[in-house]
């Protein structure tokens, strides 16, 4: 169905594996099948780990969930924490949080956005951008950047530290805190904590603006490479608030096609089960979501910074909006789809995050002490948030004894599954096809994956429900029977198959 997803035959083809893919969160690998002339016949991104959160959360009391599920990830735990808490707000019927709770959760979330984006841009991606895609592998890391560009490395570390400090003050710990609880938050911010956070903001904003200029320079210096690297067109999905502005904490979901025309101007995220479907392919633990009405072939989409900046009408903070317009100008009126633009969009979002934090820290509501509300208990809750990597969906059902009976998580990296696979196939065709494969060329593939900042551990959380296929093969290689487990947990067999 998709070009280079399945080779016509694997006979006579040579297999190259990039295992593990480095400088991403989690464990994944890429396999390439090439013929004798080094023509690429198949390229796939595989996720080689799996987690069990959707299963072992069952039976647990619902109020534990936001703290438990954040352990899916050490990079963006706050996103899971808040998405789960939004779902649990719905479970306890807390329709409107207090202004203080709402703003403290925003502060926590935008702190998360800043730290995660800084981590990705400076620690994981900048070695490729600053030192070169095919520079010496031993130097192509944050230490190499620190040796050659010490100021940039230091700025990246301190920007991330600032995001972590925000999380520490609101959630109690830099990683895996407990700040949000169903119906609100558990901790008020003190004036001293707020003042401490205010202190460094102007410097950080200046540094992130420097980061944006840095990426822009890359695109201006070498437009033919940056504009076309891993290029493919796709639909895009992102969250927008009522007036069409970018909102990373709450809003409706908007989907646009590759030309920027709306597929859904907006839909309430609670209706996602009617809008989205997940396809299972036998070679991957990670599912492939798509928009049901368009089908799996045409309905896949990308999420994350590049999609968000183009699905929204504007960014509601002046510096980031100016930077967004500047970035979109390279599309000459058309949406920007180049894979490396993700980095540009990501660092613009980091700037937006700092601007939001600045306005929140000036808001007197932030120091309030009215922290929780309650409402009428419900059986089902859906919480959606824009995690650093894109749309994150948490969906739970809870029985009358308060135990979770169903959990469905669709994380950002899963939404991007098809997009990442398409990106590596695009890069494989552009840069590897018919060439002598070198480590530097293989890193081009990793660069395409890295642009999505995938969190592979988050994306493989469905232990017990993952599709599996067991084949019984005779001595001649003939398949005698096949046992399959579908994504819904149903088994079916086929004897004397093939």
């Amino acid at each position: 169905m998709f070009e280079l997803e399945n080779a016509k035959t694997t006979q006579g083809l040579r297999r190259i594996a990039i295992d593990p893919v480095s400088r991403v969160e989690g464990h994944g690998k890429v396999t390439l099948l090439l013929d004798e002339q080094n023509r690429i016949h198949q390229a796939r991104l595989h996720i080689v780990e799996f987690r069990g959160f959707e299963v072992f959360i069952k039976g647990r009391p619902y109020w534990e969930v936001p703290v438990t599920v954040q352990r899916l990830c050490g990079i963006c735990p706050i996103s899971h924490h808040l998405a789960a808490c939004k779902a649990m707000d719905a479970i306890i019927g807390a329709k409107q949080l207090t202004p203080t709770a709402e703003k403290l959760r925003h502060l926590m979330h935008y702190g998360q956005i800043v730290q995660s984006h800084a981590l990705h841009f400076y620690h994981l991606a900048s070695p490729d951008l600053l030192l070169g895609f095919d520079s010496e592998a031993a130097q192509r890391n944050i230490v190499g950047v620190a040796m050659k560009y010490p100021d940039i490395a230091k700025q990246g570390i301190l920007i991330r530290k600032y995001g972590q400090e925000i999380i520490h003050h609101v959630a109690g710990k830099r990683i895996h805190g407990t700040g949000a609880i169903p119906g609100g938050v558990n901790k008020a911010l003190t004036a001293a904590e707020r003042d401490e956070l205010k202190k460094d903001l102007p410097q950080l904003i200046e540094w992130v603006q420097g980061g944006i200029e840095l990426v822009q320079r890359f695109f201006e210096t070498n437009p033919s490479f940056f504009d076309s690297f891993g290029l493919f067109e796709s639909n895009m999905m992102g969250m927008v608030r009522e007036d069409g502005a970018l909102d990373l904490y709450h809003g409706d979901l908007r989907v646009k096609d590759a030309k920027g025309k709306p597929i859904f101007d907006r839909f309430n995220y609670e209706t996602y089960p009617q809008v989205l479907r997940e396809e299972v392919r036998p070679w991957s633990y990670m599912k492939f979501p798509y928009i049901e009405k368009l089908g799996s072939e045409n309905g896949w989409y990308k999420v994350g910074p590049l999609a968000r900046l183009q699905t929204c009408d504007f960014i509601p903070s002046p510096l980031a909006e100016a930077a967004r317009k500047n970035m979109l100008a390279i599309g000459n009126g058309q949406p920007v789809h180049s894979t490396l633009s993700y980095h540009w969009a990501r660092i613009i979002e980091a700037l937006h995050g700092l601007e939001v934090i600045q306005s929140l820290l000036d808001d007197p509501d932030l120091l309030g002490t009215d922290l929780t509300v309650k409402g009428e208990r419900q059986e089902e809750g859906i919480g959606v948030i824009e995690a650093p990597r894109g749309v994150l969906i948490h969906h739970y059902k809870v029985n009358e004894d308060d135990q979770v009976t169903m959990c469905n998580l669709i994380v950002s990296t899963t939404h991007n599954n098809q997009a990442m696979n398409t990106a590596i196939r695009s890069v494989a065709t552009q840069h590897l096809d018919r060439r002598v494969i070198s480590e530097g060329l293989l890193n081009h593939i990793e660069c395409a994956i890295r642009a999505y900042d995938p969190c592979l551990s988050c994306a493989t959380h469905a232990l017990g429900e993952m599709p599996l296929q067991v084949e019984l093969i005779d001595a001649e290689g003939q398949r005698l029977s096949l046992l399959c487990r579908d994504s819904n947990g149903q088994f079916h067999t086929s004897d004397v198959y093939g």
């Binding site: 647990r60 534990e64 352990r71 959630a171 609880i181 558990n186 901790k187 004894d401 135990q403």
Partner: protein, 239 residues
């Protein structure tokens, strides 16, 4: 200080009152002896053995040994702490103690002791037992994954609440808490959150519903000071 009413712990004289145990007198004097199954106001029962000290050369549970004039107690020694750490490690691997997502974290005596005694690893293989979570009661839930069979709930329910809701059943490794109702469910008992048994659990096995994680990190009982520095709280706590 009247030497007739003192004894020695690690070279330090400790005053005591008639009928006080070594553990009670030590805590009152500000000397910490690690323990799990002692609770002020309840009869000491010597279940957990963490308070094992050496009195005049013999290993004894400090919670059940009566304080006597002139006895010499070894408490804070590397050898005893090694043994206590071993006991803690066995308690951790015997149950399912997932501190990262447990709402008792920061208020949990087992966790606090593990930190205090510098338990760095579980050392033994985990049993990963399959244990029940009973959420049938409208106000409280019972998570036996975290139970350490200290018996405090059994005792509090029987002796203070006069309800006899909890009991220890089985023997040895198979011993576990049961509920004295035909269904075996907490929801079918007359258990109430105001019961003494609802507040004595040193771990997170019996907890009120829906109030969890309300206390932020940094303000929980053992966030403030290590358990070994909270002798006054341990001696006077009521909930």
């Amino acid at each position: 200080m009247n030497s007739e009413n003192t004894f020695i712990i690690d070279g330090m004289p400790i005053p005591f009152e008639p009928d006080q145990t070594v553990l009670q007198a030590a805590l009152k004097a500000g000397v910490f002896i690690p323990h799990l199954c002692f609770y002020p106001g309840l009869r000491p029962n010597g279940n957990c053995k963490l308070c094992t000290v050496i009195i005049n050369g013999r290993h004894t549970s400090a919670c059940t040994a009566l304080a006597r004039s002139g006895i010499e107690v070894e408490n804070n020694t590397p050898v005893l702490d090694d043994k206590r750490r071993l006991l803690l490690q066995m308690l951790f691997v015997e149950g399912n103690h997932f501190c990262p997502s447990c709402e008792k974290s920061g208020n949990c005596q087992l966790q606090a002791l593990a930190y205090d005694l510098e338990m760095m690893t579980p050392h033994f293989n985990h049993f990963f037992p399959s244990r029940k979570v009973d959420t049938s009661h409208p106000e409280a839930f019972l998570d036996l994954n975290r139970c350490v069979n200290c018996g405090l709930c059994v005792q509090a329910s029987r002796e203070v609440d006069k309800k006899n809701i909890f009991a220890l059943s089985g023997r040895g490794r198979a011993s576990h808490i049961v509920i004295n109702t035909p269904s075996g469910k907490l929801g079918d008992s007359d258990f109430a959150l105001s019961d003494k048994a609802a507040s004595v659990c040193p771990v997170g096995a019996i907890l009120p519903k829906r109030g969890s994680f309300a206390v932020p990190i940094g303000q929980r009982i053992y966030d403030k000071l290590p358990i070994s520095s909270q002798t006054e709280f341990l001696m006077t706590r009521k909930t």
